[in-house]
Symmetry: C2
Subunit: 773 residues, 2 copies
């Protein structure tokens, strides 16, 4: 199969060369590209809690078409169903059933939503009930075997054993392309389950509206009330073949139905509306007949979906779309060409790189129309609008990575954030936003960091003053998450707002980022205000015990306090031990405050070397023993900079040792290759950076912390046409220590790589050794 892909790509280039002058430059360039999609295994992270999905999508695509292997209700008898969490991305590798293929997914998140528009092909007597995954033939779901399943970027296929149907999926940016190969049957069906949701519960579906426009075209929308409170997704669904009949079943308790009672609405009636609807379309099929479906999404209207459909896939050539999409992936993956010791490492690396390009996603129609936070339809002027901003996670390494390999998209994302601010009734930048909604998840206002990082790296042309104003506004919304008290008291008081230490630390760093923007904008007042605020981390440090600690609004420390417990101790997804080290803008000062370099180094050793007690693990569903080294929890982002902090002590070699250890033990090319949620690409971005030998400990600064590269060598092809070459000397799995680093031929000694040294290309050479320098 892999060889076939190479042939296809060559063929495709030839075809497109002839037909598409607009894309010519890109494709000509790509002729020299390597086939790197072969090293991507979309199944990595689908086992345990990686929360990735194996389905088909373009880079940053709006449609992410992927199988659902179960349908879990979020509540059973009014109680939260703990199995919900496993299905954040809809797919669990250990399952042996497929319930269908839906068009929207999060990649790696630790909370969920989406799963819109589930399609399932079946044969035999129509069964509209999904059934129980544990009971074969109990519903429309099908058994499948992994040996009959295959996934690569932009393509997924599986044999549905219950129906003898081969399902193949690909996608363009806004259109899912399904290809189902049926057996001979007079009872072939395509089910469109409009009830199915990820994180599903009664009343999640607010409204569904479906029109059967003709014998092969369906349009409509669904509104849900989930993590995104007011979420609307519109669609246009085109069949390659007219159905012979169709219908739907409504599962609502309808008290009043106007005058629709004069029709038999359930069969062959082209209008369906309600809260909970399953539709079906019936076909006769001959042996091996393929029924194809193009399923376009829009966030503005059904008309928008039709526009997207017509613009992106005006044909029925499944392979053409698949190859176009795979070409896009290859173009993106070729932005970093690496050589590694082992194929496994290469697969781990490229899958991580792949996982950094599954969100944020494009969130506008082909003509630039999109639904804004105010639920009005806006037009993106001068940018492409994006959504899914898991910012508490992704500001750390994902957006900094984008500033190197996706600066144009990151600029679009920055502008999308400013647009969000402009549409926000709070005048706030995104916190955790998706699908024209703010879901308020996690702490901090980290859009400001993303913007500041892009401004620092000079990868954005956002209006500086407008961006600064948006950041200021965001940081001053007094009713949000303790900000009012934070401004007044210099810290978030735990008795007023929980996770108060995490909030104080994140706000302080965010404030430093705002100060950096103000500096660029030459706005001294704002600079001073926010630089002052950025010192607030000091106010939650309890010198007496040597830990960051929750403080109360009367200024006293909270009495009950356990620096290791991750719940109710002033931290979120962390504790005083690890999250308490989060002062990325003043690391030296923090270390001094905490007793100096050696004491701090010892503290880091303590984190990595002290076995965590079981009682602390059981409480947190994100953490398994696999994702832990001592008390270091790689699955949670507040730790991500910690292994690099040794650089600020007298023991940088410990950074080198630890990051290699983490890469080796916390990542692999197996389905269980992620030790925790990928968190919208942050975990993978950590890996990509670390594998290349450096990491953005302080986003919005120009410094990266040096680690220990996993790769043998790498070539980073920048969008400005320049290239960064990363070479290693004496690289091996044993030689994890960095003896010397040369940047553009000059040795550096402070373990900091400056952005300016590489932004227009350059060469970094790591001299590796088996013992510390």
């Amino acid at each position: 199969m892999k060889n076939l892909v190479n042939i296809y790509i060559t063929l495709f280039i030839t075809c497109v060369y002839a037909n598409n002058t607009k894309n010519f430059m890109t494709l000509k360039d790509s002729i020299k590209h390597k086939n790197l999609i072969q090293f991507v295994n979309p199944f990595i992270g689908t086992k345990n809690m990686g929360h990735t999905f194996p389905g088909a999508t373009t880079p940053f695509g709006m449609v992410q078409l992927s199988p659902e292997t179960n349908q879990q209700p979020m509540f059973i008898d009014g109680k939260y169903n703990p199995d919900t969490y496993k299905y954040c991305a809809g797919y669990q590798y250990d399952d042996s059933t497929i319930f269908g293929f839906s068009h929207t997914h999060f990649s790696g998140t630790g909370h969920s939503d989406l799963g819109d528009f589930l399609i399932m092909p079946t044969t035999g007597k129509l069964n509209l009930e999904p059934g129980n995954a544990n009971i074969p033939q109990s519903g429309y779901h099908s058994q499948f075997l992994h040996k009959n399943e295959f996934a690569e970027p932009g393509f997924y296929k599986v044999e549905l054993d219950d129906y003898n149907i081969l399902a193949e999926l690909t996608a363009s940016d806004r259109v899912g392309f399904h290809q189902y190969t049926f057996p001979k049957s007079e009872d072939s069906h395509i089910i469109l389950d409009l009830i199915s949701n990820i994180y599903n519960y009664e009343d999640k579906n607010v409204w569904t509206f479906v029109r059967v426009e003709n014998d092969s075209l369906i349009t409509g929308y669904r509104q849900t009330n989930g993590w995104a409170r007011t979420k609307k997704v519109f669609f246009a669904m085109q069949f390659s073949k007219p159905f012979k009949s169709y219908g739907h079943k409504k599962y609502d308790n309808v008290q009043y139905n106007g005058f629709y009672r004069r029709f038999n609405e359930e069969e062959n009636f082209p209008e369906m509306a309600g809260k909970n609807i399953r539709a079906y379309f019936n076909f006769d099929t001959v042996e091996n007949e393929q029924i194809k479906i193009k399923f376009a999404l829009s966030n503005t209207s059904a008309a928008g979906a039709l526009k997207n459909l017509d613009a992106e896939i005006p044909h029925w050539d499944f392979n053409k779309t698949k190859l176009e999409t795979q070409q896009k992936w290859n173009d993106e993956l070729n932005k970093i060409v690496v050589e590694t010791e082992t194929k496994a490492e290469k697969e781990t690396f490229y899958t991580a790189l792949y996982h950094t390009m599954l969100s944020p996603i494009i969130y506008e129609d082909v003509d630039g129309a999109y639904r804004g936070l105010d639920q009005n339809i806006h037009q993106s002027e001068g940018f492409t609008n994006y959504t899914i901003f898991s910012l508490w996670d992704t500001y750390r390494a994902l957006h900094p990575l984008f500033n190197i390999i996706q600066p144009a998209r990151n600029n679009d994302m920055v502008k999308s954030m400013v647009a969000h601010h402009n549409q926000s009734v709070h005048k706030m930048l995104p916190i955790w936003s998706h699908y024209a909604n703010e879901n308020w998840c996690m702490v901090g206002y980290h859009s400001v960091t993303v913007i500041a990082d892009a401004i620092a790296k000079e990868t954005t042309n956002v209006d500086l003053n407008q961006a600064l104003k948006a950041c200021e506004n965001t940081a001053n919304v007094s009713y949000f998450d303790g900000i009012g008290d934070y401004i007044n008291l210099g810290f978030v008081p735990e008795d007023k707002s929980s996770s108060s230490v995490s909030k104080t630390l994140e706000y302080a760093f965010d404030d430093w980022c705002i100060a950096q923007i103000a500096k660029k904008a030459k706005n001294e007042t704002v600079f001073n205000t926010f630089l002052n605020r950025s010192k607030n981390y000091k106010n939650v440090y309890d010198k007496g015990i040597g830990y960051m600690r929750p403080k109360l609004s009367d200024g006293t420390w909270r009495k009950d306090f356990d620096p290791i417990d991750t719940h109710g101790q002033g931290f979120i997804e962390g504790n005083a031990l690890n999250y308490g080290l989060y002062v990325p803008h003043e690391i030296d000062n923090m270390i001094a405050m905490m007793g100096g370099k050696d004491k701090f180094s010892n503290h880091l050793d303590y984190i990595f070397n002290t076995e965590i007690e079981d009682k602390y693990i059981e409480k947190n569903e994100d953490i398994t023993r696999d994702g832990i080294i001592g008390n270091y929890v790689h699955g949670n982002e507040p730790g991500h900079h910690i292994p690099y902090l040794y650089n600020w002590t007298n023991h940088p070699y410990k950074t080198q040792e630890r990051v290699r250890m983490i890469m080796n033990t916390m990542y692999s090319n197996g389905e269980d290759g992620l030790c925790g949620n990928d968190d919208a690409g942050q975990m993978s971005a950590w890996y990509v950076f670390s594998a290349l030998g450096f990491y953005p400990v302080t986003p919005a600064s120009n410094d990266y912390a040096i680690g220990s590269p996993m790769i043998k060598n790498a070539q980073i092809n920048l969008e400005n046409g320049k290239t960064i070459f990363i070479n290693t000397v004496n690289q091996s799995s044993k030689n994890v220590f960095v003896k010397k680093i040369e940047v553009n031929g000059k040795s550096i000694n402070n373990y900091l790589l400056n952005y300016n040294a590489i932004k227009n290309g350059g060469t970094i050479t790591f001299y590796m050794a088996s013992t510390p320098k």
Copy 2:
């Protein structure tokens, strides 16, 4: 008060003359206008089942801002609450409570919906419960007295006794303007009840989304699932004064609320969303302080509502808007200037004329954007989009009246219907449509009649072939209401589709109308097809019993049959006795078929002279003894042409006698002045025509049937600048018989007035007498 209005109008004209050149021509013209709004009593029809509303609106305005005097649940313990029906328009004159003022209403319909965005001003301890109308102070509702209530076109006011608040309402086309005069209070409130609906029941509210944009501007929308299945109304609500605080209460059973739990959403939090929400805004008020609210609607978006707000009322001058709107009304009312014997007759006449201009309503934003039937946003190109088409009622006389006094608007309505067809997944013209939904109410496809009438009268520039195609498509939707069988068998079989005789008769007439369009379009094939179909009325006439009668699909007559019962006998809102006379396109043939002129005249006598048995009345909520003459039921439209049918017999004088009798007994200037639902203006249009002395028995023909005028004389000011003068000689309440009719000086003897004789103006003179000719 009436005199004051005159002064205002003069003042207003002077003001606008100075400020507004665009409207200058209209206003200059209007200087010579009489003040006719003084003769309109918006309370006519608010008692019993007229289903009119007394609130403020412009002619055909999108906002119809009117008090709700009760809040009835549509179902109590799962059973239909019979009091629901009384509140089709929200207001019942016998009530003594006001629950608030909402922005959308039907006028005169026999089924309901709307009542969007109820606003209630209160003082004292905030109470968000509406309370029980029978228990004073049991909720936010207030007692009121009719002596403290006043209504005229474009203006309504009432004292709210419980709060000592004077409420005044006016409106522009798309904006409701509230003016509340408060007492001194530190506890003044404006409640925005987003749960309240006309025809309300659990789950009617699908979704509500509200943003508090700043301290005085609210935007949002509500989606309901009612008679209009997928109805969205957007709003922008601007206060004249900042509120001091605000909040909302959500009445949903929320199983899952994302991460909003980190806020106190209920107080001063600017985003509200859910199914059932009541919001409130708190103020301090000094004695007699006025708080004004401009409340704009849109059917496209909150942005659209803001656009409408800014365009239509860019100021806070309540009187200015009131006077502008009253000027519009005066302009419209002056289209027919009548003199009558009594002031009461003039009030009855002008209120009827007023009631013909409350629907259809404008249904687009100021920039022409509107929500189509497909739920996409469309742009009206070359027309203004209208909604609320109660066509089974209004094709009879309302649209024919529009062809005389509102040809431009009627042309817009025709084009709105064609746009509806183009957006319809069924490719059908409206049946009974409102707010971007088809509610499928009543029988027939009467858009075709409206279109054919406009084409016959040459008042539309709709594309003839496009219109014809839309009519053909509509008449051939085989799954709609027996059309398939009707086409195949020549009649609708009762065993397949109830009300089969009504359907057959209405379809036959509609088909004749389509044939008339085909004739104009010179499409012989379509003409022949539909002319043939128009003969289908013959197929449901049972010669054996001399009645139209339900036939079964095997061709036999249904055995059980009662020609007087109005339920389950093949008719709807009628019976064989009256609805069985509905062949308006072939009256002579029908009469011949039924035994000739004298037999037919006797049949008409029988209808009017035979007391209906009580058992037939009790079944029908539309009919009261007041609306009945013998077996003639004026409250139901199938009878509307019946008094005029004597013209086709040897006893036209009986038409004259009957129509005067009906005008005198079924209409008055009291609150109970309508004997049944006004039916979106059809009952009133019947009156306007009849009062002028003629009636469109056969819409889409050029003939009107002569009746007996009520007016002394009338001047109809046509939009083309020409005038029709209607004079009477010897008019009196006794002289109901028409001795002679002269049209443009020539006597006519066939009791038919030809449209061509008056379309460019003319003079009709009725010579009246106390005895038949």
